[in-house]
Symmetry: C2
Subunit: 291 residues, 2 copies
Amino acid sequence: MAQSQVSSIDPPRYLTGDKTGLREFLDKFDVFLFDCDGKQVVFVTNNSTKSRADYCKKLEGLGIPSTVEEIFSSSYSSSIYISRILQLPENKRKVFVIGESGIEQELRSENVPFIGGTDPAYRRDITPEDYKLVAAGDESILDPEVGVVLVGLDFHINYLKQALAYHYIKRGAVFLATNIDSTLPNSGTLFPGAGSMSAALIMMLGKDPIALGKPSQAMMDAIEGKFQFDRSRACMVGDRVNTDIRFGLEGKLGGTLGVLTGVSSKEEFVSGGVRPHAYLDKLSDLLASDL
Amino acid sequence: MAQSQVSSIDPPRYLTGDKTGLREFLDKFDVFLFDCDGKQVVFVTNNSTKSRADYCKKLEGLGIPSTVEEIFSSSYSSSIYISRILQLPENKRKVFVIGESGIEQELRSENVPFIGGTDPAYRRDITPEDYKLVAAGDESILDPEVGVVLVGLDFHINYLKQALAYHYIKRGAVFLATNIDSTLPNSGTLFPGAGSMSAALIMMLGKDPIALGKPSQAMMDAIEGKFQFDRSRACMVGDRVNTDIRFGLEGKLGGTLGVLTGVSSKEEFVSGGVRPHAYLDKLSDLLASDL
């Protein structure tokens, strides 16, 4: 995956405690992608294990009121891409899913047929019989209607699913990924992310998937299509330079704001290849009541 | 993984049916790595799921008599590397294994302590409690004596094993791979190989493992150390350009011989970036009784 060299020209401005700087920054934007109050907010998440409805509940649990319409998840973005953008032949409309229920819910919401996913039939060891059936292209194991393989974060990834995904793609299915984050933050450290699910397939196939999450501009186009905002008046807020900040920079948004409560470090924000326009210790620094 | 541009200078000679060519080719060598009769033979395999003893049985089943001493497997090569070459601190000698019983048997033969592998305790879903224990570096889930992560082909790969391997390496364990073949031939087609097990870790860590199987020259050095042959009089025979043929070429063996019964195609042999000195339709063409 070639990483284009994008960064805002100047080193990012450190805004924590800088009231004037903060006010100047806030005044530039009408829309915040992923957080803030009093302005239009769109929550943009690459976590495909949850549906938009799941995400609403999660935000509610965190004391952040939201509606399904304000949320853009990579599972939703992927479903939109499959149902509205991919031109699949009539008999190739089924999706083989590597992932959890969030993807399934969003595919259902777009009436996209799928197999795999959380189906217990795929949560098992590969058998000697499987090898033969796969090699023979037997329809009992390789559904001839599958025209897309969609790879998201799957906590039940296994050898059988990887083997089937590989064979579907070799037989012509489109190779999609909800997102390609290599890691997933949890409990203050990192665990395998959706990108590490695609990694085996990328190595086997020698090609990359079309990735629908941040920093893919397919996701930005979909968000803009839905919310009709002025990009120069929109700001992307996030903790990860290679997804969040890159997403905003490549999407030519008016601003990008890094927060230091997540994956990327201050060093990355200040001297990395992909730098935000400004950064804060934590998101709540943006919400100072006396601004 | 950078692939150096190695190839024999001339296009490979096609030897099937060419008696003179065959005799000339055979006369050049005393040692065949991987197959032939009447000369010293070493069977070199990257399949780490089997031990050398397992491999003997497999060859016997195919009507090919062999002894354990004639076999060099990537699981054996890895065990030798860990026990004799890596200088591990006293309290960091344990290996976390991603792989099957072949690796375990060879580690035992070198008295290398290990965890993971085929232990059913690791064949389960990750739990919310696991995330917390891993984040806390709790010794009930992260053994402080682990100093090496060895990744081979594992038909029971799962999210928990990938997460633990990642954390052991982040905490300082050496990242080893038995081999990095992306695919494994079975039933006339391809399935995920050991390399696809490392792929997720490579993406997460941003670094490659030390790979002990072909084409790693660590394996060639070990073979030479054991058999004391003249490299200029040795020939590597195999079906895969990026492992077998590259192994022989980078090892500066006198010859490399491709066979068309496996992964690589005639086109790859003749015009690829890594070309053998000669090639045959099938290995038995080398054994023509009237030579």
